[in-house]
Amino acid sequence: MGNTGHGETFLFWVGSIISILGALGLIFSKKIVHAALCLCTVMLCLAFFYMAQGAVFLGVVQIVVYTGAVMMLFLFVLMLIGIESQDSLVETIRGQRWLAVPFVLAFGFVLIGVYAHANLPEFVGTDAANAKGGGNVQSLALLLFSRYFWAFEVSSAVLITSATGAMVLTHRERTVPRKSQREISIERFERWGKGEKVSLTGLPNPGVYAQHNAVDTPALLPDGSPSEASVNATLRGRDTVRGFRPLPLPGARRNGAAVASRGDAGNEEVSQ
């Protein structure tokens, strides 16, 4: 390999070590997100190799499409289906592990055999190809839109078909048309006008205090009593609402003072 530069050789050795470590990590990591990240590392290294060999456009597209879009969607799905999802290490097919050993050995022999008999041509590089169109992007465009035009268009048609198919499969007709914000608001006022118990302004926020700031902590009304509407009905139903003794108003008779002065007064349950 006489015509690789020093920089390229250096990049190759650094990049190949990182990408092999990434590939090993992909296989051996137990958490699926770690595996996805290792795959990203491998892809980034691949992009660097493309760039080092003069295929700048390909390198950048590799990052944008594979790392930026495809792996991101993968991660998106992984995050949606479960934060804690770990791969089960139980064999689903009996004897799978033992069967893997001869197959791996056979594959290794095939690889070695092919590599030993391969008749690799002289190393050409991308300079001549890039110079043909006056730059990497231009020469790639010339090829894509002349010689490989048909393949390019067909692959885009396949992609569009699959996207449309996914949309058709996941599409669901609504049984009732969606109500707009305006209609919901009008409806709410109508119900309120009929005398129903509806909150027009939205429900009050939960309470924010020095020691407690969470959805299970009720806000206090001006008279010091906890506001029932400020806590979710589910929490009220489970009876897990963090309670406050009604605070005495200034000037009122201090009958609750002994409880309120205790440090953990806030932890008592409300009995409503």
Binding site: V33, V64, G68, M72, V176
Partner: protein, 454 residues
């Protein structure tokens, strides 16, 4: 003459080539400038927002409070570093780094000025000039999203996870509109290199011929940087702090740094693509010296500050969008509009390239196309509104029919009840072979007769 290429101190040849030295100097200067700009922008934002809200804002540390962000930075660095127990530690550690490094990297291809002389050597004020500079920025920013998404995932808590998912969806959707708006510029400039695009804007800035691309880019860049009114991933009213809720100390500072550097990067990209890059604005450009030497850096910085001001202005005035409205804007408005616009741009470019096209023909064609475009938009809007009113009418009719149809036998067949409809009680026929039914699927005859309904 080897000494011309190497750095020579007092006659001693260090064998360090000048191009290497200049690159190092430019890189360090760029890094320092970005960090200082971040400190400045935080102060600028706080002061401008206070001014808009008729407050005073930080005014204690340093003149006019200018050193406030420095003091805050020191404070942030000295805070306790908390790692949640549920966190995935390596990823939790990696995420802020992944978010900050691409933010710095993206800036490398932005041209700050034309050729200048540093230590007697001619060089352009740009760290690297890649032939695919703009795509490089897209690539690097797509790596930067990983920082946010992984931060959300690795925190091991719900709000950050929701923030991370939101931000990945948001950035993927807005990157499409962004890429399409770039495509118009590529068609006009005939190149993807940032310096080439600036050079192609010598006569007119692209914001004039490509105004729609420019507007779409400006909207998309606000979405891309997670800034108000598109700051859904860190919506404090809904998600506490979003993806960085669990982060403290320097890790949080890195996210902060990345956000402000991204702000500068997308603004610089907008300037480079649509606002003439480092070129002087019109009245100044009449002076021939305005686009030479170090002056262009001033124009660039002024444009940059104007953009930052606009970002702050948006934050000070606009309420946050709801998530579905935000997605609707991205997918149903920005992407279709930019697709149609791109088609128009391509047609105009092709007509120009063919050569038998002069201004006298081009202007009426452009006007006609623009009129057609507006007409199509209006027609679509009218159709949408008709659809909505038709829906409402049919909904009213359906509701009326449902209210009258008390038995739930729509059209003679028993159908599942619609919301708000009571199904008439149907007395089930007793099963002929109750025992068999039980043995067949393990249900009692009463359960079987109730048809699964309780």
């Amino acid at each position: 003459m080897a000494n011309m290429d190497h750095w020579v101190i007092n006659g001693f040849d260090t064998h360090i080539p000048w191009w290497f030295l200049l690159t190092v100097i430019k890189g360090v200067a760029l890094f320092a400038m970005l960090v200082v700009l971040t400190l400045f922008n935080i102060w600028f934002e706080r002061r401008v927002v206070s001014w808009m809200q008729m407050r005073i804002g930080p005014n204690r540390v340093g003149p006019q409070g200018l050193l406030q962000s420095l003091a805050d930075g020191v404070k942030l660095a000295l805070k306790e570093d908390i790692v949640p127990e549920n966190a995935d530690k390596p990823v939790f550690w990696l995420a802020p780094v992944l978010s900050a490094i691409p933010a710095f990297l993206a800036f490398a291809v932005i041209p700050w000025g034309p050729e200048v002389s540093i230590f007697g050597h001619r060089t352009t004020l740009q760290l690297v000039d890649l032939p695919i500079g703009v795509l490089y920025i897209l690539a690097v920013s797509s790596v930067g999203i990983y920082g946010i998404v992984l931060a959300g995932w690795s925190s091991g808590s719900t709000y950050p996870l929701l923030g991370g998912i939101r931000s990945s969806a948001q950035m993927i959707s807005y990157e499409i509109a962004m890429g399409l708006s770039f495509a118009g510029v590529f068609l006009y400039a005939g190149t993807m290199s940032t310096s080439g695009i600036v050079a192609a804007q010598e006569q007119t800035w692209y914001i004039l011929p490509l105004c729609i691309s420019g507007i779409i880019y400006i909207i998309a860049m606000v979405g891309e940087t997670n800034r108000a009114p598109f700051d859904l991933p860190e919506a404090e009213g809904e998600l506490v702090g979003g993806f960085h809720t669990e982060y403290t100390s320097l890790k949080f500072a890195l996210f902060f740094l990345a956000e402000y550097i991204n702000l500068v990067t997308v603004s610089s990209l907008a300037i480079t693509m649509f606002f003439g890059g480092w070129r002087a604005p019109w009245p100044l450009s009449l002076w021939s010296g305005a686009n030479q030497g170090w002056y262009p850096m001033i124009w660039f910085l002024v444009k940059l500050l104007i953009f930052v001001f606009v970002f702050i202005w948006l934050r000070g005035t606009l309420p946050r969008l709801r998530y579905d409205q935000f997605m609707k804007l991205g997918w149903k408005v920005l992407i279709p509009v930019s697709l149609v616009w791109l088609l128009l741009v391509a047609v105009i470019r092709q007509l120009k390239n063919v050569g038998d096209m002069d201004q006298a023909h081009l202007i009426p064609i452009c006007l006609g196309a623009a009129a057609l475009f507006v007409l199509v938009l209006v027609a679509l809007e009218v159709r949408e509104r008709n659809q909505v009113s038709r829906d409402r009418r049919s909904r009213d009719a359906a509701e009326l029919a449902r209210e009258e149809d008390l038995e739930g036998l729509g059209g003679g067949f028993p159908v599942p009840p619609m919301p708000g409809q009571q199904r008439a009680a149907i007395t089930p026929r007793p099963l002929r072979t109750p025992i068999l039914a039980v043995t067949a699927n393990g249900h009692t005859p009463a359960e079987e007769a109730s048809d699964g309904r309780q």
